[in-house]
C-alpha cells in the first residue's frame, strides 16, 4: 500500500480537502442535538414560539451547510480516488510492458490481468471510501462523546465505557469472520471449477458416461458452500443484536444517571434528550463503519496484490563478455545453454552451429526437445545462460532491444491477431509499409484470398485475438505480418501446424522465392517442412543430436532417421523395416 501512496501525491489537495469537508459535515451534524436540546429547554420550557422558529431555521441551515460540505467532500474524494486509480493503472501497464519474459513467466499472465483490472478497481473504491467515511465515523463517534462531556461529565463516562465495548464487538466479529469469508470464497471457486470443467470436458464426461458422478460431485460442493455461508452468516448476524444491546444498555444507564442528575438539578430534561440522541447517533454510525471496514480490508488486500506487481523487477544481468569464435559467420550459435528461471534443469545445453546469410535452417525434434527454447534464444527473447549468439560477429545479448527485433520477422506458434483491422495488424510488421507491400506479403503468405473474401478487404474487422478467423487463416495472416517487415531473418515456429498439407507446401514454395537474402529458421515436427533446408538442426532432450543436410542426416543421424521414417515408412530401407 505504501508503494502505491505516491500516486496519490498529485491529489494531495483533494485528499486533504475531502476528509476536511467531511469533518465539517460531521461537526454540523453533532450540533443538531444541542440545538434540539435548547428548543426543548428554552423554547418549550419558556413557551417561546419565536425562539423555536429561530432555532428551527438554525436546524435547516445546519442541514444545508452540511449538504454543501458533504457534496464538496464527495467531489474531492471521487476526484482523488479516480485520478489515483488512473495513475496506478497507467504506471502498472507501463511497468508490465517493461518486464522481461522471465519476470512475466514468473508472475503469470492471467493474474497480471486481474490485478490490472478488478484489483485496481477495488483499490479505487477503497480510497474513495476512506476519504469519504473513514474520518467521518470516528469523528461522529468520538465527537458524540465529547459533546456528551460538554453537557455532563458523569453521563459522558457511560460513553467512555460503551465505545470500547462496541469497538471490541465490531472488530472482534470482523476478525473472526474475515478468514471464514475467505473460505466461503474458496468453496465458491470449487463450484466454479466443477462447472467450468463440466463444460470444457463435456464430450469426455459424456463419453465416459460420468454425468451422474459429476452431478454428485457438484451437489457436494454446493452443499459445502451453503453450509459455510450459513455458518459465517450466523456469526455476522450476531453483530447487530449485540451492538443493539450495548447501545440500549448505555441508554438505560444514561436514563438512570440523567434521572439522578436532574433530581439534583445538574441537568435539564432537554439535555438528557440530547445525550440520548448522541448515543443513538453512534449506533447508526457503527453500522456504516462495519460496511466500510469490509471494503477497506478488501481494498488493502488488493493494493498488496497490485504493489506485488510493482515489486517484480527485471534482473540486472551483465551480458557475457564472450569472444566470438566465428566472427566471419553471418549468424553463429556458440555453445549455448538455457536454463529458465526456477527450472531445475537446463532446457537447452551446448547448442552450437553457424548460419550463412540467405540460408534456410530447419529445426526438428520431438515434443519437449527444446525447439521453441532455441527460437527464444535466436530471437533474443531470452538471454542465453551460457555461451553466446552472434549476428555478424556481435553478441545479440548486448544489442539494443529494438535494433535486433527490427531485423527479425517472427511467426509464433500460437497465431494471435489483435483487435482492429487486417491492416492495423499487418502494420505491426512495418508501420510505413505501403498498400503494395501489404498485398505482396499477403500473397507470399497464401493469405491473399482470405483478405479478398472478407468484406472491407484490408480494412476488414479483426476481433479480439482474431477469433473471427479460423486457425489456419490466422496462421497465414501472422505469417504475412512478419513478411511485411521484409525481415533479414524470418523465424517460423511450427507455423504451419494448423495448415493442411497442400497450403503448407504452397507456402514453403513461396518462401523459397523470397527476394533478397532472407535467412529463414523453420521449426517443425514434419520432416517434409524442413527436408529441403540448407542445414537441419536435430534436437533431442535439449541437446543437439546432429546437424547437417537431409541427405547427411538420413545417412548418419539415428534420431533423424527415426523421425523421418516414422513419417515416410515406405522409404525405409528394406533391411530396416523388419
Amino acid at each position: 500500500m505504501k508503494l502505491l501512496l505516491k500516486y496519490l501525491k498529485d491529489y494531495k489537495k483533494e485528499s486533504v480537502l475531502a476528509p476536511l469537508f467531511k469533518l465539517l459535515e460531521a461537526f454540523f451534524e453533532l450540533l443538531v442535538p444541542l440545538v434540539m436540546a435548547s428548543i426543548i429547554d428554552r423554547g418549550i420550557g419558556n413557551g417561546d414560539m419565536g425562539y423555536v422558529g429561530k432555532m428551527g431555521l438554525c436546524l435547516i441551515t445546519l442541514g444545508l451547510v452540511g449538504l454543501t460540505a458533504s457534496i464538496t467532500a464527495q467531489f474531492f474524494a471521487a476526484k482523488a480516488a479516480v485520478g489515483f486509480a488512473a495513475k496506478v493503472r497507467k504506471a502498472l501497464f507501463e511497468h508490465i510492458q517493461g518486464l522481461d519474459f522471465t519476470s512475466i513467466d514468473k508472475a503469470g499472465t492471467s493474474t497480471l490481468i486481474t490485478r490490472m483490472t478488478s484489483d485496481i478497481n477495488q483499490v479505487q473504491s477503497g480510497v474513495n471510501m476512506v476519504l469519504r467515511l473513514f474520518l467521518r465515523s470516528p469523528i461522529v463517534v468520538f465527537g458524540s462523546m465529547i459533546m456528551a462531556f460538554t453537557i455532563d461529565v458523569k453521563s459522558a463516562l457511560i460513553f467512555v465505557a460503551a465505545i470500547p465495548m462496541l469497538a471490541i464487538v465490531v472488530f472482534g466479529i470482523m476478525l473472526w469472520t474475515m478468514p471464514l469469508y475467505k473460505k466461503v470464497q474458496s468453496h465458491l471457486d470449487a463450484v466454479l471449477g466443477i462447472t467450468r470443467e463440466n463444460l470444457t470436458g463435456v464430450r469426455v464426461i459424456r463419453a465416459f458416461h460420468k454425468e451422474e458422478d459429476e452431478e454428485e460431485r457438484f451437489k457436494e460442493a454446493a452443499s459445502v458452500l451453503a453450509v459455510s455461508q450459513t455458518f459465517v452468516g450466523k456469526i455476522s448476524a450476531v453483530m447487530n443484536p449485540v451492538t443493539y444491546i450495548i447501545v440500549n444498555g448505555a441508554i438505560l444507564a444514561l436514563i438512570y444517571v440523567g434521572a439522578l442528575q436532574v433530581n439534583v438539578g445538574n441537568l435539564s430534561q432537554g439535555e438528557v434528550v440530547a445525550i440520548i440522541n448522541y448515543m443513538s447517533q453512534i449506533l447508526v454510525e457503527l453500522v456504516k463503519l462495519a460496511n466500510l471496514i469490509i471494503t477497506i480490508t478488501k481494498a488493502l488486500a488488493c493494493a498488496d496484490r497490485v504493489a506485488d506487481v510493482f515489486g517484480i523487477q527485471n534482473e540486472t544481468r551483465k551480458p557475457a563478455g564472450r569472444e566470438c569464435e566465428f566472427p566471419d559467420a553471418y549468424f553463429s550459435v556458440e555453445h549455448v545453454s538455457l536454463t529458465y528461471d526456477g527450472a531445475g534443469a537446463e532446457s537447452l545445453s551446448d547448442i552450437d552451429f553457424t548460419v550463412e546469410k540467405g540460408q534456410t535452417i530447419g529445426i526438428i525434434g520431438g515434443t519437449g526437445s527444446g525447439k521453441t527454447s532455441l527460437i527464444h534464444l535466436i530471437s533474443g527473447v531470452y538471454p542465453a545462460t551460457a555461451g553466446g549468439i552472434y549476428l555478424e560477429g556481435k553478441n545479440i545479448d548486448g544489442m539494443d532491444g529494438n535494433a535486433l527485433k527490427e531485423r527479425i520477422g517472427m511467426v509464433p506458434q500460437k497465431a494471435v491477431l489483435f483487435k482492429g483491422t487486417v491492416r492495423s495488424n499487418l502494420l505491426w510488421g512495418n508501420e510505413n509499409a505501403t498498400e503494395d507491400d501489404l498485398w505482396q506479403a499477403l500473397e507470399l503468405a497464401q493469405a491473399k484470398e482470405i483478405v479478398e473474401s472478407k468484406q472491407g478487404g484490408l480494412d476488414a474487422v479483426v476481433e479480439q485475438n482474431g477469433r473471427n478467423y479460423s486457425g489456419g487463416q490466422r496462421q497465414r495472416l501472422t505469417i504475412a505480418r512478419a513478411l511485411v517487415r521484409k525481415p533479414e531473418i524470418l523465424i517460423l515456429d511450427d507455423s504451419a501446424s494448423a495448415l493442411d498439407y497442400a497450403t503448407d507446401a504452397k507456402l514453403r514454395k513461396a518462401l523459397q522465392k523470397l527476394e533478397g537474402k532472407t535467412t529463414v529458421f523453420i521449426v517443425s515436427q514434419r520432416a517434409s517442412s524442413i527436408r529441403h533446408a540448407d542445414k537441419i538442426v536435430v534436437l533431442e532432450d535439449g541437446e543437439m543430436a546432429c546437424v547437417g543436410t537431409h541427405e547427411e542426416l538420413l545417412a548418419g543421424c539415428s534420431v533423424y532417421q527415426e523421425i523421418y521414417y516414422s513419417q515416410y515408412p515406405e522409404e525405409r530401407p528394406m533391411e530396416d523395416a523388419r
Binding site: V32, M36, I40, I44, V52, G56, I60, G63, L64, L67, Q74, F75, G83, A85, A86, F93, G98, I113, M116, I194, T195, L199, R203, V204, I205, F208, E211, E215, T230, G233, A237, N240, P241, Y244, L252, I255, Y256, V262, N263, Q269, V273, G366, T367, G368, V381, K405, V416, W428, R481, S497, A498, D500, Y501, D504, A505, Q525, S528, I563, S566, Q567
Partner: protein
C-alpha cells in the same frame, strides 16, 4: 413485466420448501420491528418523568428501565434468530437452484452447449446465482423489516399525534424521489463507465496476454499510447459516475435533516400548546430518524432485487432449456458390442439452411479401421458427433450391432467407444483419478499397465508424486504431449470394443507417436476404429478411407483405390511430398 412475474413465481416455488422458516422469519421480523419501535416510547416515558429538581419519580423510572431491558433482550434475540433463518433460506434456495441448473447442464443437448459461450454459462451458475443470493437475502432482511418499520412508525406516530405525523409523511417521500432522480440521471454515466472499462480490459487482455508478441514487434509504445487514451476517458467518465451517484447520500441525509427539523419545530410548537409531552417529542425525533432510514434502504433493496430477478431469470433460462431427447424407455443397454457399425442414408446439418452430410452410407465390419481425412474445417468432427450421438441425425439411421443407436441408451453406447479427442481434456485431480476415469475400480497393476502401453508411465513416474500428483484444471503444468498421453492411457484402461481417435497424435512428436501407434495397433486389434488425422501416414493402413470436403464425404475407398481415382485424395496425398 409478465416475465418478471413468472420469475417471481418460480423463486417462490423454490422458497416453498422452506416455508416454515419463512413464516417464522416473518413473525420474528414483526416482533423485532414492533419492539424496536416500542423502545423509544419507553425512553420517552422515562424522559417525561425527569420533571426537575426533586421531582423525579425513581420508582417509576426503574420500572420503565426494567421494561426496556427485557424488550431490548427479546429484540436482540429475535433479530439474531431472524437473520439466521434468512441466511438459511437464502443459501439453501440458492443451493437448490444451482443443483437444478447443473443437473440440466448435464443433460443439455450439444446444440445448446456448442452454441453458447462457456464463460456465459459459468457466470450464470456462479456469478448470477450469487447476485441472486445477495438480493434474496437483502430482500428478506431489509425489505420486510423496512416496510414493517415504516408502517409501524406511521401507526405509532399517528396514534401519538396526527399533525406532527403528517409533517413527517409529507417530507419523507422527498428522499425517495431524490434518490430515484439521481439514480436515473447517473444510469447512463455508469453505463459509459462500464463500457469504457470493458474496452480497457479487452486491451489489457490482449496486450498482456500476448506480451511476447508485442515485444517481438516493438509495439509497447503504441499500445501504451492507446491504453493512456482509454485510461483518460475512463478517468473522466468514472469521475462523473462516482461523483454524481455519491450525491445521493448527502442529499437523502439532507432530506432526513429536514424531516428532523420539521418534527422539531412543529413538535415544539405543539408542545408549547401542551399537545405533546417532551418525552413523546423525543420519541418522535428518534422515529423521524428511523422512519427515513428504511426509505433509503428500500430504494437500494429494490434496485438490488430487480438485479436479482434479472439474474434469476438468466438461471431459469438455463434450467428451462430443453434437454436432449431422453433415452427411449425401451432402449437397450449395449453390452460387449461386436463393433459392427453401419450408416444408412444419413443426412445431417447443424443449420437447416446449410447442408452438410448428405446420403452418407457406410458399413463397417467388426474390427475394421476407418480413416477420415480432409482439409482443415471439412467437418471431420461432425462424423464423431454423430457416431457418439452427441448430435442426432436429421434422417436415416446409424446402427451398432444392427440396432439403431437411438434405441440404445446413450450411456452404454458412449462407453462402448474409446475416444481420444483433438482437444485433450483432463479433470482437476490426481493423475490416477484421470486415468481411472472410465474404470474407477481398476487395480494399481492395470493402471500402470495401461500407462505403460500409452508411454505415459515413464513421465508420470518422474512427477513429484507419481500417480498421485495433482494436476490443475485442464492439465495445468503438463505439456500438450503429456496431456495427450494421459488421455490415451485413460482409454487404454477401458479398452472398449470401438475406438474414435480424433487427431489424437497431432501434438505428439513423431517418435512418440510411432510408439503409440504400435500400442494402438495392438489395441485396435479386433476393435472397430475411426481415426481422424492430418497425417496420411497414420491412416494409410485403414480398411476404408473417407475423404471429406466442405462437410460432405466426397470419396470413399482404400488407399490404392482412391489413388487410382486420381481425385481429391490424390491431391491431398501428393501435397505431402511436394516440397
Amino acid at each position: 413485466m409478465k416475465d418478471r412475474k413468472s420469475t417471481v413465481l418460480r423463486v417462490l416455488q423454490y422458497i416453498r420448501k422452506y416455508r416454515m422458516f419463512v413464516i417464522f422469519s416473518l413473525l420474528l421480523a414483526a416482533v423485532t420491528v414492533g419492539l424496536t419501535l416500542y423502545v423509544p416510547i419507553l425512553v420517552g416515558d422515562a424522559v417525561d418523568l425527569l420533571l426537575g429538581v426533586g421531582k423525579v419519580d425513581f420508582e417509576q423510572i426503574f420500572k420503565i428501565m426494567f421494561e426496556i431491558g427485557i424488550v431490548m433482550l427479546v429484540t436482540a434475540l429475535a433479530q439474531w434468530v431472524m437473520n439466521t433463518c434468512n441466511n438459511h433460506i437464502a443459501y439453501h434456495v440458492v443451493k437448490d437452484i444451482r443443483e437444478d441448473a447443473f443437473a440440466n447442464l448435464e443433460r443439455l443437448s450439444f446444440i445448446f452447449l456448442d452454441g453458447h459461450s462457456y464463460g456465459d454459462i459459468v457466470s450464470r451458475i456462479v456469478a448470477d446465482v450469487d447476485t441472486f443470493a445477495d438480493g434474496l437475502l437483502m430482500g428478506f432482511t431489509q425489505l420486510f423489516t423496512g416496510v414493517l418499520t415504516i408502517a409501524g412508525t406511521l401507526i405509532f406516530m399517528l396514534v401519538t399525534n396526527v399533525p406532527i405525523a403528517l409533517v413527517v409523511v409529507c417530507i419523507t417521500p422527498l428522499s425517495f424521489f431524490v434518490a430515484k432522480f439521481i439514480a436515473g440521471k447517473t444510469f447512463h454515466m455508469f453505463k459509459e463507465q462500464s463500457q469504457t472499462r470493458g474496452e480497457q480490459t479487452a486491451l489489457i487482455d490482449e496486450a498482456i496476454g500476448n506480451q511476447k508478441l508485442v515485444k517481438m514487434f516493438s509495439q509497447e509504445e503504441k499500445l501504451t499510447q492507446k491504453f493512456t487514451e482509454i485510461n483518460g476517458r475512463l478517468e473522466e467518465c468514472s469521475l462523473k459516475a462516482i461523483f454524481f451517484s455519491s450525491i445521493t447520500n448527502p442529499a437523502t441525509r439532507f432530506v432526513n435533516s429536514l424531516v428532523y427539523a420539521g418534527v422539531g419545530i412543529f413538535g415544539a410548537l405543539v408542545a408549547i400548546k401542551g399537545g405533546i409531552s417532551v418525552g413523546r417529542l423525543s420519541c418522535f425525533l428518534s422515529y423521524a430518524n428511523q422512519y427515513t432510514k428504511p426509505f433509503n434502504e428500500i430504494s437500494g433493496v429494490i434496485t438490488e432485487l430487480q438485479n436479482a430477478l434479472v439474474c434469476a431469470s438468466r438461471i431459469f433460462e438455463l434450467i428451462d432449456e430443453t434437454p436432449q431427447v431422453p433415452d427411449d424407455e425401451k432402449a437397450r443397454v449395449l453390452r460387449q458390442a461386436k463393433g459392427e457399425v453401419s450408416l444408412d442414408q444419413v443426412y445431417f446439418s447443424y443449420l437447416p439452411e446449410q447442408k452438410l452430410i448428405q446420403n452418407f452410407n457406410l458399413a463397417v465390419k467388426p474390427g475394421q479401421r476407418i480413416a477420415i481425412v480432409g482439409p482443415t474445417g471439412c467437418g471431420k468432427t461432425t462424423v464423431i458427433n454423430l457416431l457418439m450421438r452427441f448430435y442426432d441425425v436429421n434422417s436415416g439411421q446409424i446402427n451398432v450391432d444392427g440396432t439403431d443407436i437411438r434405441k440404445i441408451t446413450r450411456g452404454s453406447l458412449r462407453t462402448g467407444y474409446g475416444m481420444v479427442l483433438q482437444e485433450t481434456w483432463l479433470k482437476s485431480g490426481t493423475i490416477r483419478e484421470n486415468i481411472c476415469m472410465g474404470r474407477p475400480d481398476a487395480s494399481e497393476e492395470e493402471m500402470i499397465q495401461a500407462s505403460k502401453a500409452a508411454h505415459a508411465h515413464s513421465f508420470i513416474k518422474r512427477l513429484p508424486k507419481g500417480y498421485d500428483t495433482v494436476i490443475g484444471e485442464d492439465g495445468g503444468s503438463l505439456s500438450q504431449g503429456q496431456k495427450q498421453l494421459l488421455c490415451i492411457a485413460r482409454v487404454m484402461l477401458c479398452l472398449p470394443p470401438m475406438l474414435i481417435l480424433d487427431e489424437a497424435t497431432s501434438s505428439i512428436d513423431t517418435r512418440t507417436e510411432q510408439k503409440i501407434q504400435k500400442a494402438f495397433a495392438t489395441m485396435m486389434e479386433g476393435r472397430t476404429s475411426f481415426i481422424v488425422a492430418h497425417r496420411l501416414s497414420t491412416i494409410r493402413e485403414a480398411d476404408v478411407i473417407l475423404v471429406m470436403k466442405d462437410g460432405n464425404i466426397i470419396e470413399q475407398g482404400s488407399h490404392e483405390s482412391l489413388l487410382a481415382k486420381n481425385g481429391f485424395y490424390t491431391e491431398l496425398y501428393k501435397s505431402q511430398f511436394s516440397g
